[in-house]
């Protein structure tokens, strides 16, 4: 643990309830600057839901998320949920902050998706360039009438530089969807990096990859952490990858956290072994 570094992400008592189903139950975690942290768990454990709460896709039913020491998401059971709430810590939070995902991205969070969501009709270069839109200073009029030429040129150069770094410069003008699977993953990460995040959230980055590609990806994730000075939070099924690069791991099962610790600790944790027993997922 890098407790000496400032805390990038702090998740406190997040509960996400859909109707009568509690998908994430009282989940808390921290991540410090420069760390690579993984959330693992069997299928349906609530990993992606937790991810979606942190990135603002869902508003949590209860709990708080702080980013860079700033409170960004907070909610408590309200309205109909007041009676129907099944989780804990009902009275603990009283604030109500429900930013849309783009606000969080503007603060410095960027994510990828489990099922790749690139902009299909656009080239590799455009996919990266559009992510730069966030960093613009131009307004509608200056952009339309070309008064932002300097900025536009700069963003284009930055996008090209980024493609060079991630090794996609040679397919710059190809359609994003025409790339092989591994490169699409890589492009999605590059696109997220283009928003200049402090925290990068990767949702199953190795899903559907062969062992060779997974090894490359593992290396790639380590490289971007060092090169772009980002902290990384990832969900993954590939245990090799997780054990290889993450410094700490949180384990979810049926929405609740059952363990947390270093890879070595997790590998020997009884509860984790129980949770995975019989349903070992090596997809």
């Amino acid at each position: 643990m890098r407790k000496d570094k400032p805390c990038v992400l702090k998740v406190e008592d997040i509960t996400m309830q859909f109707g009568g189903v509690v998908a994430v139950n009282n989940f808390s975690m921290e991540e410090y600057e420069g760390e690579i942290v993984a959330i693992i768990g069997p299928n349906g454990a609530g990993k992606t839901t937790a991810f979606n709460v942190i990135t603002g896709v869902y508003a949590p039913t209860n709990g708080r998320v702080s980013f860079n020491g700033e409170r960004v998401i907070e909610n408590f059971p309200r309205g109909k949920m007041k009676k129907a709430y099944l989780g804990q810590n009902a009275g603990k939070y009283t604030g109500h902050l429900e930013p849309t995902p783009d606000k969080l991205t503007a603060l410095g969070m960027a994510r990828t998706f489990q099922n790749i969501r690139l902009w299909k009709s656009m080239t590799v270069f455009d996919n990266v360039l559009i992510a730069k839109h966030l960093k613009r200073t131009s307004n509608l009029f200056s952009a339309t009438f070309g008064a932002n030429r300097v900025e536009e040129q700069m963003q284009r150069e930055e996008a090209d530089a980024l493609l060079e770094t991630v090794g996609l410069a040679d397919v710059r003008d190809e359609l994003a969807t025409s790339l092989p699977y591994g490169k699409q993953r890589r492009l999605e990460i590059a696109r997220a990096l283009a928003t200049e995040p402090k925290l990068l959230l990767l949702d199953e980055p190795a899903a559907g990859m062969n062992p060779q590609e997974t090894v490359e990806l593992t290396k790639f994730i380590g490289e971007i952490r060092d090169q772009f000075h980002v902290s990384i939070l990832l969900i993954e099924h590939h245990m090799d990858l997780v054990m290889d690069i993450s410094e700490r791991i949180y384990v979810l099962d049926f929405g609740s956290m059952i363990a947390s610790g270093t890879p070595a600790e997790i590998q020997t944790n009884e509860k984790v072994i129980d949770a995975y027993l019989g349903v070992t997922d090596d997809a």
Binding site: T55, V57, T100, P101, D102, K103, T105, A106, A110, R111, F113, R117, L118, W119, K120, S121, M122, D126, L129, I130, A131, K132, H133, L134, R136, S138, L140, A143, T144, F145, G146, N148, E152, Q155, D160, R172, D173, R191, A192, A194, T195
Partner: protein
């Protein structure tokens, strides 16, 4: 190295497009002087006039439906607002009481009149321009108000809600109680219109009836092209391709959808104003949802997501329905004389069958998602390839 080449060639092709546009405008200006209304070929100018109105309407709809992926069917409503705003603010005071024959006109300002009193003949042109811009702004303002509740809706719900709003706007403008402003449901006329646009150089009067609408449409479409190619335009396309990803990459959906919606409506308002000046009347009952459907079909014909496609589509649509296929209605077509079959309404039947064929078999329309400038580029690449 490759990038530099690409951007250079795109610069070159945009220069070519610019020159072609200039040449086209000059040609229209000349045609305006040569062809008199009693000439058989005047239909060409009529088509250009109406075509430029619909071209702008189609391009502005394409900005919303094709580039941002928001399926809105409220276009006729915004055009109506534009047409009325333009008409009301350009009716000369001498004609006002004749036009508002059953009401006491509440708005008694005529931009061209006020400005020409201040600065002479140039003021008239400026007044018309001011009214056109105000027409766009009014439409954009209404769009903003409507957008607040409806832009959250998804695809077909958005379509039906905007369609509903267009109908509500139409009813509002026909309401007797607003008569002093809108002249009730009666038509507005006698305002500044293209048939009166003349440029006096010495003793000769130069006719501008076709040139002005074509110029306004060209300038507006030029701005839309610039917008689409800007960072905002790219953000719109991102929203169209994948809303969730766009939002995750920091694009504020509500804000960008609203921008697209209001800008699109602004130009719909401008095209409404142009429609008023070309037809020389403005009346709410003309702006029915059928008009929106027609514009949508023009966009489809040209190719959803292609601006030059929309322009070509609308010009073809207008030319075919108003001019080329007219023979189908009046007994003789292609030299075949069959009054029994070629009678009133047959033109529209043939025309709608053509549309259905395009919709079913040529789903990408004429241009797909390509632009005319892409074609130059492609040809050049090919030529270069052949030379090597």
């Amino acid at each position: 190295m490759k990038q530099v080449n690409a951007s250079q060639s795109s610069k070159k092709s945009s220069w070519i497009s610019f020159l072609i546009t200039l040449a086209f405008l000059a040609l229209v200006f000349c045609l305006d002087q040569i062809i008199k209304p009693t000439n058989k070929m005047y239909m060409l100018l009529t088509v250009l006039q109406k075509g430029s109105v619909y071209a702008l309407a189609a391009v502005s709809m394409n900005l919303l439906n094709g580039y941002t992926g928001l399926f809105s069917l409220g276009h006729a409503g915004f055009m109506l607002i534009g047409a009325y705003t333009y008409a009301i603010f350009t009716i000369p005071s001498s004609a006002r009481d004749t036009v508002y024959q059953y009401f006491d006109a509440a708005i008694r300002v005529s931009f061209p009149e006020v400005l020409s009193n201040m600065m002479g003949p140039a003021g008239t042109a400026l007044g018309v321009l001011a009214a056109v811009i105000l027409a766009g702004l009014m439409a954009a303002f209404f769009a903003y108000l409507i957008g607040l509740p409806v832009l959250r809706l998804k695809s077909d719900y958005l379509a039906i809600a905007t369609l509903g709003f267009a109908e509500i706007i139409r009813a509002m403008f026909q309401w007797q109680k607003l008569g002093p402003i809108t002249n009730g449901s009666n038509l507005l006329k006698s305002f500044a219109r293209t048939s009166k646009f003349k440029l006096e150089v010495g003793d000769t009067k130069l006719v501008l009836s076709t040139f002005v609408p074509v110029l306004i449409a060209t300038a507006s479409i030029f701005i839309i092209v610039k917008l689409v190619n800007s960072t905002y335009g790219r953000a719109f396309k991102a929203i169209r391709d994948d809303e969730v990803a766009a939002e995750a990459m920091g694009i504020n959906l509500a804000k960008h959808k609203m921008i697209s919606f209001t800008v699109s409506s602004f130009f719909a308002g401008v095209s409404g104003a142009m429609m008023a000046m070309v037809l020389s009347i403005a009346q709410a009952s003309n702006f029915k949802s059928a008009m929106t459907y027609e514009i949508l079909l023009m966009v489809v014909l040209g190719g959803i997501g292609s601006i030059s496609g929309s322009v070509i589509g609308s010009l073809l649509f207008v030319a075919a329905s108003e001019w080329w296929l007219r023979g189908l209605d009046s007994g003789t077509f292609l030299g075949i004389n069959a009054p029994g079959v070629f009678r009133n309404g047959f033109r529209l039947v043939v025309f709608s069958i053509i549309i259905m064929i395009v919709v079913l078999f040529f789903r990408k329309g004429i241009m797909g998602e390509k632009e005319i400038s892409d074609l130059f580029r492609a040809r050049k690449k090919k030529a270069r390839g052949a030379a090597q």
